[in-house]
């Protein structure tokens, strides 16, 4: 598995990002170097980066740090002392099933630095973003389930319990049963989440499964 991971990283770097370098640090795979931002054969800029792929990658997405210190560590720039604020981890994991390293570079990493360039020039973040902290996590999960965030509590109850049944009330609050409402999205979310361990779900910021939860609303 480690060989597959390394091969995936090397393929991504050989393909498009030859100014990045693959190395290891404290037993983790790390990619460092200069990340170019291209659009239509125009090289817009480069940023110095470090990407860490932890032991639990790809379950837990990589972390990205802009090591050139060009970007202030402030929330308007979605950049903190712990690195770039790319996405709610579970949201990216659910929406991007192809977990190739190249997908990560071409997607969230490129988008993040492109947005930084836009911010430098125009003073505002060009893409929509999540609320800070726990609120953002809830928004992401509710979006994945297709329901409004004000119904988070009901969704959380379902995700923490046993496998949802079609006759249960949909947490969106319109009174319908799951099977005729958001059952497909919620079942898929539940199924994907159930593949993570409790620790992984905690790291991804998801409700952890609760084996002792017995009562279900009908």
């Amino acid at each position: 598995m480690l060989d597959d991971l390394r091969a995936d990283i090397e393929a991504a770097l050989d393909d498009k990002y030859c100014e990045l370098r693959h190395t290891a640090f404290n037993g983790h795979e790390v990619v460092v170097g200069s990340f170019p931002i291209w659009h239509e054969n125009v090289l817009i800029d480069r940023f110095q980066i470090e990407i860490s792929l932890g032991e639990t990658y790809p379950t837990i997405p990589p972390t990205l740090v802009e090591t050139g210190n060009r970007i202030p560590r402030i929330d308007e720039r979605h950049n903190s002392d712990r690195g770039a604020c790319l996405f709610v981890p579970i949201e990216w994991m659910m929406r991007r099933p192809n977990l190739k390293f190249l997908t990560f570079l071409d997607g969230p990493v490129r988008e993040y630095f492109l947005a930084q360039k836009y911010y430098e020039q125009n003073g505002e973040w060009p893409f929509s973003s999540r609320s800070h902290g726990e609120a953002g996590r809830r928004e992401a999960l509710c979006d994945l389930a297709g329901i409004q965030v004000q119904n988070w509590s009901a969704l959380s109850d379902i995700l923490e319990g046993p496998e949802p049944k079609g006759h249960w009330r949909c947490p969106c609050g319109n009174g319908k049963r799951l099977r005729t409402c958001h059952g497909r999205e919620i079942s898929e979310l539940f199924r994907r989440l159930s593949k993570f361990s409790s620790l992984e779900r905690e790291a991804l910021g998801c409700p952890t499964s609760n084996a002792s939860f017995l009562s279900r609303r009908v």
Binding site: E19, H39, L43, P72, D81, Y118, S129
Partner: protein, 299 residues
């Protein structure tokens, strides 16, 4: 375009002119830092000197630094009794206006304001004390390593680089080190490169850069690198050996890429410098991005 012309164009792109925004900002910040230190140590005897890539002529756009040397005169104790006191007092004074990152002997200045928190200002303040009244050699405090004191000479370092005869190659090799994030101090990387190119000053740029890279990639053991300002007293072998495996791996990788795909694969094209064009391309790129990830501030 030949490899020589291409590498010259890369160097040209990396050159910051005196009227560039980057250097103007650097000069303004330098004046601010000097003013701050003069206020912190009124009436005391010290000198400001300038080192780093600006003084050595190795400045590149992607990593430019000003070393602002703050040398207390040999007979002055008002800035601190010991070298460590001087280092700490200077750090405290700078802390009133900047976020200060403590390095082995220098103090890196970062932004501390609301809009600039953690932003690199490209200035290292290096506190020290002249060894005697001649004001040539000086002592620096070291926060790490076996010795707490380092003896050095700024003029020797500057002249060693300025007079090496291979400045263009040194700058390109610096760019490679920065782009590949090779974890070795620039000071040591420069010394290794200059040593490797000592007999090849008349060769073309592509050849010089490759010679310097191969001197590391093909070496069985780390080379002996001497500090020209203090060859007997300043042992650089530890710093070289710490980064040796990474240096070898990185230089081998670069050479492989040059052999397989040429220099453009290593250093790429130059960035678009016209701000109007760049701004327009950024807007187009943003508009063309479908379903971007939603940024999330986790704290």
């Amino acid at each position: 375009m030949s490899d020589q012309e291409y590498l010259q164009s890369v160097l040209g792109d990396q050159t910051l002119t005196d009227d560039s925004d980057e250097l103007k900002t650097l000069r303004t910040r330098r004046a601010d830092v000097e003013s701050l230190l003069r206020s912190a140590f009124p009436g005391k005897k010290f000198s400001f000197r300038y080192g780093g890539s600006m003084a050595k002529g190795t400045l590149i756009r992607e990593q430019y630094d000003l070393d602002l040397i703050f040398y207390v005169h040999a007979d002055e104790v008002g800035c601190g009794d010991t070298l460590e006191d001087i280092y700490n007092n200077v750090a405290a004074a700078l802390g009133s206006g900047y976020q200060v990152r403590r390095k082995t002997s220098a103090l890196r200045l970062l932004g501390s304001g609301v809009a600039s928190k953690g932003q690199d200002f490209h200035i290292d303040v290096v506190p020290g004390r002249f060894t005697d009244g001649s004001q040539k050699d000086c002592y620096l405090h070291q926060t790490t390593g076996e010795k707490s004191r380092l003896k050095t000479n700024l003029d020797v370092h500057i002249e060693h680089v300025r007079g090496c005869g291979v400045i263009d190659a040194v700058r390109l090799l610096k760019l490679i080190r920065v782009r590949r994030a090779i974890p070795v101090k620039q000071f040591i990387w420069e010394l290794m490169n200059i040593d490797a190119l000592n007999a090849f000053k008349r060769r073309g740029l592509p050849e010089q850069v490759e010679i310097a890279l191969r001197a590391i990639a093909d070496a069985e053991v780390p080379p002996n690198v001497e500090d020209p300002a203090n060859p007997k007293g300043n042992d650089l072998s530890g710093a070289v050996s710490d980064a040796w495996l990474e240096m070898k791996a990185a230089t081998k990788s670069v050479i492989r890429q040059v052999d397989a795909k040429g220099w453009t694969a290593v250093l790429g094209p130059v960035s678009e410098r016209n701000e109007a064009i760049r701004s327009a391309v950024v807007k187009t790129a943003v508009a063309a991005t479908s379903a971007p990830a939603k940024a999330w501030w986790r704290d």
